[in-house]
Amino acid sequence: MLYLQLFISFFKIGLFGFGGGLAILSLIQMEVEQYGWMTQQEFVDIVAVSQVTPGPIGINCATYVGYTVGGLWGSVLSTFAIVLPSLIIMLSICKAYFWLQKRFTGNPYFEQTLRALRFTVIGLVASAALLLMKPTTFIDPVSWIIFAVVALLTISPELTKNKVTDVISHPILLIVIAGIAGYCIYG
C-alpha cells in the first residue's frame, strides 16, 4: 500500500540519515528510484525547490515527495515519518546527556570530552561554511561583497556593543536585506 511504503521509506531515512541535509537527499533519491515514484527530472526539480524554500532541506524534500506520491496525506505521513526516529533517538540521547550532566559534573572524562567536542563543533561549522563556498553560491565578486558586509554586520556587536549593532546584526534582517540587494542587483 502506497501510504505504508511512504511511511517506511521516510522512517528509514530518518533513522539512517547521518551527516546533514545533502546526505539525506541522496537517501531520499534512492527510495524514489527504488519505488519509481517519479522521474529523475521531477526529483531534481523537487531538490531545487527544497534548497530555496525556508526550513530544513530534508523536511522540504520529504513533504514535497510525499505530496507528489500520495497527496496531502502522503505529505503528512512522509514528514511525520522522517521526524519520528529523531524524536525517539535524539530524545533518548538528550535524556542521557542531561542525566550524565547531573551525575558526572566535574568528572574529567565527561567534562573534557564535552570540551573536546566543542572544539570539534567549531571545525564542523567551519567546514559547513567552507563547503558552501563554491561557484554556485559565489557567482561573482558581488557575492563576496555581500558575504563581507553580512559577516561584518554579524560580528559588529563583538566590536561595539550597543543598540544599533544589536539591530543590524540580526540574521533575519540581514537575510531580508541580502534578498532585496539580490533583487536590485541581479533582477
Binding site: G19, G21, I59, C94, L132, F138
Partner: protein
C-alpha cells in the same frame, strides 16, 4: 512553554534558508542571546549531539532545546515550530505556485541570499572559539591553542577529506577518553 518554543521556532524555521547549519545562527540569536534558555557552551554541546544523532540536525536541535527548556511540551512546540513553515510553504508551492521557482525575480533574490547565508554561518566562529577557549582553570586541562588544532583537523577532514561528521565526533569522544585516562596515570 509550548507556545513560547513554538513561536520562537516558527520564526527560526521561516528564516532558515540553505539547510540545517543555516539554522544555527538563528538559534544562537533567539535561544542563546535573546531568551538565554541555554548558554554558549551548551549551545556547542547541542550541535555535537544533534549532528551525531541520526536525522536532520535542525529537528534534533529543536528536540534538544525543547526538552531542556520545557520537557515534553517544549519538544512538541519546538519541533512543530521548526517543521510547520517548511511543510506549509512546500504544500503551497506543490499545490498552487508550481511555477514560482521559475520566476527570474526569485532567482535574483536568492543570488543575494546565498552568500549572505554563508556569512551568517561563518561569522559566529570567532565568538564560538572565544567561548570554547574559556577555561575553568582546571589543572591538567589541555591548552586552548592546542585544542584549536582539533577544530582545524575536524574542518579539514570534513571539507577536504569528505569524512562524515559523525565519524569525526565519535573519534573525538574516543580519543579524549583515552587521553584523559593516560593523563591521569602520568
Amino acid at each position: 512553554m509550548f507556545w513560547q518554543l513554538f513561536y520562537t521556532y516558527l520564526k527560526i524555521g521561516t528564516f532558515t534558508l540553505g539547510g540545517g547549519y543555516a539554522m544555527l545562527p538563528l538559534i544562537q540569536r533567539e535561544v542563546v542571546d535573546r531568551k538565554g534558555w541555554i548558554d554558549e557552551e551548551e549551545f556547542l554541546n547541542m550541535i555535537a549531539l544533534a549532528q551525531a544523532a541520526p536525522g536532520l540536525i535542525a529537528v534534533n536541535s529543536a528536540i534538544f532545546i525543547g526538552w531542556r527548556v520545557g520537557g515534553w511540551r517544549g519538544v512538541c512546540g519546538a519541533v512543530l515550530g521548526a517543521v510547520l513553515p517548511s511543510f506549509l510553504i512546500i504544500l503551497a508551492i506543490a499545490m498552487i505556485f508550481r511555477e514560482w521557482k521559475e520566476l527570474p525575480a526569485v532567482e535574483a533574490v536568492f543570488k543575494g541570499i546565498r552568500p549572505a547565508v554563508v556569512a551568517l554561518i561563518a561569522a559566529p566562529l570567532f565568538k564560538m572559539a572565544k567561548s570554547a577557549l574559556k577555561t575553568k582553570g582546571e589543572k591538567r586541562e589541555a591548552k586552548g591553542f592546542l585544542m584549536l588544532l582539533i577544530s582545524l583537523a575536524a574542518a579539514l577532514l570534513i571539507w577536504l577529506g569528505h569524512v562524515n561528521p559523525v565519524w569525526v565526533i565519535v573519534t573525538t569522544i574516543i580519543a579524549t577518553l583515552i587521553v584523559v585516562n593516560l593523563r591521569f596515570r602520568i
